[in-house]
């Protein structure tokens, strides 16, 4: 066996004999996963929409805590001073440490994914992209871990410095707290933390478009890792008695600034969902000249002419979105969409006798994912609902009912909003007024399609 392989194998064995390493390396990632599962248990797809965060936390912990802790502890004990006596070049020792760490990170991630699958998480949409994204993430954070390892003298200092990097990255860097939950200023801060790019590239690989659109994220991670590696090489020491040249830190952390500045220049820093919870107006905003009618039977085509369909939010926006007819849903959400489509015919609120309430209930199926900001899901459900409505409401009645609902969004019964779990969607708790507003918008949008006022796309 080569020296490199023997040393790598030894590093792995020693890691598995260290209880704390097992705790931090394997148990903590699983605890995070269970915590996320409990926290987001109402997610339409268990854990899938948070796996980028979870995997990033796993890599961050293993590479920025585990890796430097191992190296610094060995250096404190004189292990590296002993290694130095061996007839081998430095890279053999460094590569063996990194190779062993990569094996540990991959195994921890696989364990985490396995538990996620047990909780019902779907398979990743792009396994190859996920692998590539994971390797880039590992490279970035191992570079950082090596920088920490060369900088500090003892294990407590690793923990202290690690926390100084770990916690801001978790809270402000979009790793533990989703970016869209952060205020705008924090989203601007997040671009200066590599954790954001890791989350984005991993999440896109799992539930998004794969590596498409991830070039900048991958570049950011590669540059972060490279800068960390250069800084670590500049500060390398076999023995703690040699003081590192801390000027090299400017290379490692300067790259964070460079990457962040580049992200700012590119734009697309802010991920704003705040508009999604803003009031979308009243029916009068969209039909200023509408006259009141006694009931839906009295609605005429002349009433449709009062609607300013061009005032409706764009189908491609974030308020009441509707997917293009030629858009393919991400494979990760296909099971949920199948469940909704297959479940709608048997869904009791969608079969109530009153056609207005029936329509209102079915529109709620589209409105709730929208109001809950279910990325990926929210724009595909409306098409399922529109198809169902056209199947269960007579064509001559449907435009009139939609108009009626749009003009009276707060009427009717809300019971259906609390029965969505039958379709695999979370129930809405609290005030339902925002849901009524989205029902109104979707009623207008379908009416526009039925009357030809909104061109089909």
């Amino acid at each position: 066996m080569s020296a490199l392989a023997a040393l790598t194998l030894l590093s792995l064995k020693l890691n598995f004999r260290n209880r704390m390493a097992i705790l931090y390396g394997y148990l903590f990632p699983l605890i995070f996963l269970v915590a996320f599962w409990a926290l987001y248990r109402n997610d339409p797809v268990p854990l899938a929409l948070h796996i980028g965060q979870l995997l990033t936390i796993t890599v961050l912990g293993g590479a920025c805590f585990g890796l430097p802790t191992t190296i610094v502890a060995e250096r404190e004990r004189g292990v590296w001073r002993r290694y130095r006596l061996l007839p081998a070049r430095l890279w053999v020792f460094i590569v063996s440490v990194l190779a062993a760490r990569l094996v540990l990170l991959v195994s921890a991630a696989l364990l985490q994914l396995a538990l996620g699958f047990a909780f019902g998480m779907p398979w990743p949409a792009h396994a190859g992209a996920l692998t590539i994204g994971f390797l880039f993430t590992a490279f970035a954070f191992m570079g950082l871990g090596m920088t920490i390892a060369m900088l500090v003298d003892n294990v407590p200092a690793v923990q202290a410095l690690g926390q100084c990097i770990f916690l801001p990255m978790l809270i402000l860097g979009g790793v533990a707290v989703q970016l869209e939950s952060l205020p705008l200023w924090a989203q601007h801060v997040s671009v200066f933390f590599p954790g954001r790019y890791a989350v984005e590239v991993l999440q896109r690989a799992f539930t998004g478009a794969g590596l498409g659109g991830s070039f900048f994220d991958l570049l950011a991670l590669a540059l972060t890792g490279l800068a960390g590696a250069i800084a670590a090489a500049g500060m390398f020491r076999w023995d703690r008695s040699f003081a590192p040249n801390k000027a090299w830190l400017a290379v490692a952390f300067g790259m964070w600034l460079v990457v962040g500045a580049a992200a700012e220049l590119r734009g697309q820093v802010a991920i704003s969902r705040s508009a999604d919870t803003q009031p979308v107006g009243t029916s009068r905003d969209y039909a200023p000249g509408a006259k009141s009618t006694a009931d839906w039977h009295a609605v005429t085509e002349a009433d449709f002419e009062t609607i300013a369909f061009d005032r409706l939010p764009s189908d491609q926006g974030i308020i009441a979105p509707v997917s293009r007819s030629d858009a393919a849903p991400d494979p990760a959400i296909v099971p949920l969409l199948d469940r909704i489509r297959d479940g709608l015919p048997g869904w009791a609120p969608g079969n109530v006798a009153d056609p207005v309430q029936r329509t209102r209930n079915l529109l709620a199926v589209a409105a709730v994912p929208d109001i809950l900001e279910m990325e990926q899901v929210e724009r595909f459900v409306p098409r399922l609902v529109f198809a169902r409505l056209q199947a269960v409401i007579p064509p001559q009645d449907l435009p009139k009912i939609l108009y009626w609902i749009a003009m009276h969004p707060d009427a009717g019964d809300d019971a259906a909003i609390h029965q969505l779990d039958d379709l695999g969607l979370p129930d809405v708790s609290g005030a339902t007024k925002p849901v009524h507003a989205r029902i109104m918008i979707y009623a207008f949008k379908l009416l526009g399609r039925l009357t030809g006022k909104i061109p089909p796309i």
């Binding site: 020296a3 020693l14 060995e74 004990r77 004189g78 292990v79 001073r81 006596l85 007839p87």
Partner: protein, 234 residues
Amino acid sequence: MTSVLAVHGLQRRYGAVTAVDGISFEVGAGEVFGLLGPNGAGKTTTLESILGLVRPDAGRIEIEGDADPARARAKIGAVLQATGLADKITPREALTVFGAFYSAPLAPQMLLERFGLTEKAHAAFDTLSGGQKQRLALALAFAGNPRLLLLDEPTTGLDPRMRREVQDHIAAIRQERRAVLLATHDMAEAERLCDRIAVIAQGRIVATGAPRELIAASGAATLEDMILKQTARA
């Protein structure tokens, strides 16, 4: 005597301080050569220069006639101060992994038997006694079947019984035609183990020879007295 180690005019400065100032000596096969002198005399710098850990400012170091530091290190086994092993590594694992760095390593089992570590072959390093740890350090120095052994105060901190154990192992090396360079503060150890010694003071060799010859030549009663006399002059 065939020379295994030859040091010619070795010089090393740290800023304004000259740690080693033109040291020259040779160590032959089957010889134990001692480096003695006060702290800071330049013993460790000399050893580190031979190992290639420190780049000399001047001078030449040859191992079996080869002056290439990278090739030389493959022929050297060393026990230096302040080196250690991971807490949970076992002696067998350490010997196996360290042996993997050499082209013709000695078998771990043979080394375990030789250094009395067979029963502890699978014990974690942090459970070994001080003597066992030092015997393992010696065994590791042998892992690559070296021609030259550099031992920097290998018995420091050991109790008398453990010290004697380690010294017995060093004495046995002489029979194998390997060369040993031993840096020590222990006069009894030097007298017992070393064929020749060099007394170093302020980076220079102030006396060289067999311990008894040096004692006799200096008129001192003991090796310690001789060294104190020699180093006081320097």
